[in-house]
Every structure is written in C-alpha cells, then in structure tokens.
C-alpha cells in the first residue's frame, strides 16, 4: 500500500462530492475545447476557401500616366511604360520574409492587338499559374500547351465567331484556339490568353511584364505586411492589396475568438471556485482522518500529497473526458454556425492543452485547501477522544 491507494480509495468513497468537482471541471474544460474547436474550424474553413478567392495582391509599375483598366483595377504602363516590370521581379517576390504565405505569383503582359481585324486585349500568362489562381474557370477544350495555342474568352468567341481548333491571326501570326473559357462574368470573357514568353516575342517586349497578380495565403497575418515587404523588394512598382469579402469574414472570426476568450476566462474562474470550495469542504470533512494520519507519523508533506494526488487524479480524468465531450459537442455546434466542413478530429495540441488547463486548475485551486489540511492541529482533529 502506498499513499496513492489512500487517495484513490478516499475518492471512491466520496463519490458524490467528487462527482460534483469532476462535473464542474469537465463542463469547464469541454466548453473551452468547444470554443477552441469552433474557432479552429472557422479558421480552417477560411483557409480552405482562401484560394478560391483568387489574387489578393496586385503589382503594377509606378507611373503617372492614365491607364487602361484590368479587373476593375487601374493598370498603368500598358500604353506608355515608364518603368516596366521585368520577368526577374517575379523571383524577388518569392524572397520576402513572409514568402511561405505566397501561394501563387502570376505575371501578365497586356497588349491590344489585331485579332481577325478586330482590336482585342491579348494577355500573356503562365497557364499553369493562371489555372491555379482562377479556380472558378471552366474551359471547353484544352488549356494551351504549345506556344502557338490560345485560350479565348466567351465574348471573343461570340464576336469573332470562332470555334475550337480554329486558326486565328494575332498581329498577322497564326495561333490555334485550343480552349474556350466559359462565361465567367468578368473581364476574362473579353480576353485572349496566350503564353507569356510568346507574347513578349510577339509584341517585342523583351522580358517586360505589365502586372503581377499574387495570391497570398494569409488568413491570420495582416495582408498589409506582405504588401509592405513586396514593396520593399520592388521599389519601382506599386503594390496594392485587393479588398475581399474574406476580410469581413475574418473580422467576424476574430470577434468570435475574443468572445470565446472572455467566456473561457469566466468559465475557468467558476471552475476554480468549484474546485476550491469542494476541496475545502472535503478537507473539513476529513479533519479527523488527517489527525489519524498525523498521529501515525505522516508528515505535513504526506498530507498535502494525499490531497493533491486526489486533485490530480480528478483533474486528469476531467481534462480527458472534457476534451472528448467538447469535441463531440463541437461537431454539432460547428454545423449550426455554418462552417462548411465540421472538422471533428483528435487534435493532440488541444487535448494536451485541455489536460493542462484541467490539471493546473485542479491542482492550483486545491493547493490552499491542501496546505490548510497539512497544518491542521492533530489534537484538535482527534478530539472525539
């Protein structure tokens, strides 16, 4: 027999009281886990959706000229390049401090060209990047793979009455229509997309580019930060963040997190009170028993160990059970708040955290009752002699 036998048996004996303590801790821990899981699910949700929003940073040359417009953004340097961007600038973006947050860098060359005797905006792109950037694109036919293949917007197809596989002339050079973009409702419908390097040759632009679209996957770091870092790397460029609906969504997540934090603090405080009062009452109830232990030669430190071991056992149990209860409930709650995919999976960080919270509260709030128990005067406690 060891001290923990005494702790364990005494817990089993005082089931009702200890159940109260256990329930208090358990509800507290599971509520905190619930709030944390919902917050996490919301964040993951956003992270998953983020790449569906396309580019969120636009880089164009610095210029005083009035300019053509692209995607609702003003794009300078299409007609008069004051200080055009270069192909080499693309690599520099990949070198900023938050480079891990940069997901897609898509350089573009914009030119107005004669296509079948009509003026059309021709955009040189890297197709692989453009496709990942514009997740919403649906294409009839194929994405161009050869230099002399083009992808055309649906309006271009209609106005010029083109079809798949047809050969067209752009500034008198032959290209084959390999794919047609389905109606996207954006300016893309009125564009002709060709390979970037081919466009540079076609329009004699060397390694110039007109603009760079960047998708930064950054749902919890400020996008302004990335904009500033990119500006530093590209002093000749104008870097702007594109406002997105995701921003307001993120704001509501942050508000939810603040709210959760507040609620958690209150709940944990209540848990501390419950543990403290239950343990104090339990010590009071056991005065005589503690007197017996002391008479048998138990040190004050032994008494503290018995009490704290009980607190430890209970709070470990409450921490684990609270974690799984919280996880279970968050499954239902997540769908209520409209998270697309409710993510009920065992997260060892949160599990460890809830265990830690429970044990810290359990032991912390029992410390004073344990010290009081250890310092009880054994003669007073034994005074039913």
């Amino acid at each position: 027999m060891k001290l923990y036998h005494i702790s364990l048996n005494s817990l089993l004996r005082r089931k009702a009281r200890m159940f109260f303590l256990l329930a208090g801790l358990l509800i507290a821990v599971s509520t905190v886990v619930l709030l944390m899981s919902i917050g996490q699910t919301m964040n993951e949700d956003i992270a998953n959706k983020l790449d569906e929003y396309g580019a969120n940073i636009l880089i164009v040359p610095r210029s005083d000229e009035l300019s053509l417009s692209y995607g609702g953004m003003s794009v300078s340097g299409v007609s008069f390049d004051v200080n055009p961007l270069q192909q080499s600038d693309v690599a520099k973006i990949r070198q900023i401090k938050n480079k891990d947050n940069i997901k897609i860098v898509s350089p573009k060359l914009l030119n107005v060209a004669d296509v079948q005797q009509k003026k059309v905006m021709v955009v040189g792109v890297h197709f692989d990047e453009e496709i990942t950037l514009k997740k919403w694109w649906t294409i009839i036919g194929e994405v161009p793979r050869e230099e002399d293949e083009v992808l055309i917007g649906v309006d271009v197809k209609r106005k010029l009455q083109l079809g798949l596989g047809q050969v067209i002339l752009i500034n008198d050079q032959p290209f084959k229509v390999s794919g047609i973009l389905n109606e996207s409702g954006s300016q893309d419908d009125q564009l002709v997309f060709i390979d970037l390097e081919r466009a540079q040759k076609l329009f004699n632009k060397g390694s110039e580019i007109s603009l760079i679209e960047v998708a930064a996957l950054c749902y919890d770091c400020p996008i302004e930060e990335i904009v500033a870092q990119t500006s530093d790397k590209l002093p000749g460029a104008r870097v702007t963040a594109i406002q997105q609906t995701i921003k307001s969504k993120m704001k509501s997540i942050h508000q939810f997190e603040q709210f959760s934090l507040g609620i958690s603090v209150v709940i944990l405080f209540v848990a501390i009170l419950i543990v403290f009062t239950t343990m104090s009452a339990s010590v009071n109830e056991r005065k005589k028993e503690i007197g017996i232990f002391r008479a048998m030669g138990y040190r004050q430190s032994h008494i503290m160990r018995i009490i704290l071991q009980e607190a430890f056992l209970l709070s470990t149990l409450a921490g684990l059970a609270g974690y799984f209860l919280g996880l279970l409930v968050s499954g239902y709650a997540g769908s209520l708040i409209g998270a697309d995919k409710v993510n009920v999976h065992v997260d060892f960080t949160i599990m460890a955290l809830s265990l830690a919270i429970s044990i810290v509260i359990g032991l912390g709030a029992s410390l004073y009752p344990a010290i009081k128990a250890a310092r009880l005067d054994p003669t007073v406690s034994l005074q039913s002699l």
């Binding site: 027999m1 060891k2 001290l3 036998h5 005494i6 048996n9 005494s10 089993l12 004996r13 005589k288 028993e289 007197g291 017996i292 232990f293 002391r294 008479a295 048998m296 030669g297 138990y298 040190r299 004050q300 430190s301 032994h302 054994p378 003669t379 034994l382 039913s384 002699l385």
Partner: protein, 229 residues
C-alpha cells in the same frame, strides 16, 4: 535511564478569552517494559498528557525526552518521523478509515515506509494474526464489532514495531466482556516486552497495569507500583 522522561510539563489551552491549565507541572519517568495506567476524573488532563507524550501537542513549558531525544526541540516534520519510529497510538473511538478494509487500515502507517508491497502485506497479516483477526482482513470496519475494531486499531498501532504504545481509553466504547479481551491483548504484548501507557477511568482495567498514575487538575496526585495481579 528511563525510556521516557517527563520534566515539569505544562500545557495551557486558551478558549473564549479564558486560559485552562490542562497539565500543570507533571514530572514522570517511564521505563522500558512498563505498563502504566493513567487515571483521573474527566478533565484532569489525561488525554492532554498522552498526546504530548506522543509528540502531537506542544507544551507551554517543560520537556519530554524519549530514548534521549528532546522531542519538542524537533521540527514539526522531524516530530512526525519520531512518531513513526517510536509511537503507536490507540484511540477510544478506534479511528479506523471507513473506506479501507481491515488489512489496509493496519497498513496505513506503512504507506509512508519504503518497505516493498509484499513485506507490508506480510507484516500487516502477521499483526492481524496476533490480534486474532486474520480471517477478517478483507472486511470493511463497519462490518466488525466494536471489540474487533479496537483490535484492528491495536494491530495498526503495532505495525511499525514502535517501542511505545499510547492508548487513550481503549475500552471506553466496549462492554466489559469485550474490554477484558482487549486488556488481555495489551497484557500479552506487555509480557512480550512492549511498553504501554494507557489512559483509563475503568477501575476494572487497573489490575492489568504495572503502575498507576493518578492525575488531579493537571498534576500527578499519586504514582505507585501495582500489586502484581
């Protein structure tokens, strides 16, 4: 030299602005192998003296030497270790833990010792044997009679092999037939060399003791060898 040497012991209790002098200048020597019965009317200071002897109750002045150790010069934790080494307490109210079975109750003093689990069990078993309760090792205290519970308490007091047994009215809650069984157990232990100091106000019990110490108002009123019974 005596095993226990009590010198000029004084204990005051303060309650409600009043001071009660529970023990008032007691000096007493007890030798190894003695069976001392402490008697006196209720409130004469018997229990106070006994708990002080067991290192549980700090005196206002005076000293207690046990085996050459001035026990109240020790720190609180050292005094706990002293109790573990030297003292076995037996209480009138038995004071068994209701959530532990008989064997476990006997093992309580061993829970803080470094003995192996097997040794602890063996030790407790042999003491249950000694008090005649080995067949009830796995019962809970509330399934035993008063006399049986007291014998468990005695086994528990003996489990550490303490040189001194301190018993405060061990038969106070028992009928006379059961009392006799318990007293005969104490006598047997004493005959094996165990030093026993027992508080009692049962005249019947005096015949078992080798010395009678009578307290009155916290002082030793009389102390004499018993006529061999």
């Amino acid at each position: 030299m005596s095993l226990i040497q009590i010198m000029n012991l004084v204990k005051n209790y303060h309650s409600g602005g009043e001071t009660v002098r529970a023990v008032d200048g007691v000096s007493l020597g007890i030798d190894i192998g003695e069976f001392v019965a402490i008697t006196g009317t209720s409130g004469s200071g018997k229990s106070t003296l006994l708990t002080m002897l067991g290192g549980l109750n700090e005196p206002a002045s005076g000293s207690i030497m046990v085996d050459g150790i001035d026990i109240y010069s020790l720190s609180v934790e050292q005094r706990a270790d002293f109790r573990k080494e030297y003292i076995g307490f037996v209480f009138q109210a038995f004071h068994l833990l209701p959530y532990l079975n008989v064997l476990e109750n006997v093992m309580i003093p061993l829970a803080i010792s470094t003995l192996g689990a097997g040794e602890k069990k063996e030790k407790a078993q042999s003491l249950l044997d000694k008090v005649g309760l080995s067949n009830k090792a796995l019962r809970l205290p509330n399934e035993l009679s008063g006399g049986e519970q007291e014998r468990v308490a005695i086994a528990r007091a003996l489990v550490n092999d303490p040189p001194i047994i301190l018993a405060d009215e061990p038969t106070g809650n028992l009928d006379s037939a059961t009392s006799r069984v318990v007293m005969e157990l104490f006598t047997r232990l004493n005959n094996e060399g165990q030093t026993v100091v027992m508080v009692t106000h049962d005249e019947q019990n005096l015949q078992y003791a080798s010395r009678h110490v009578n307290l009155k108002d916290g002082r030793v009123f009389s102390s004499h060898e018993a006529v061999a019974g």
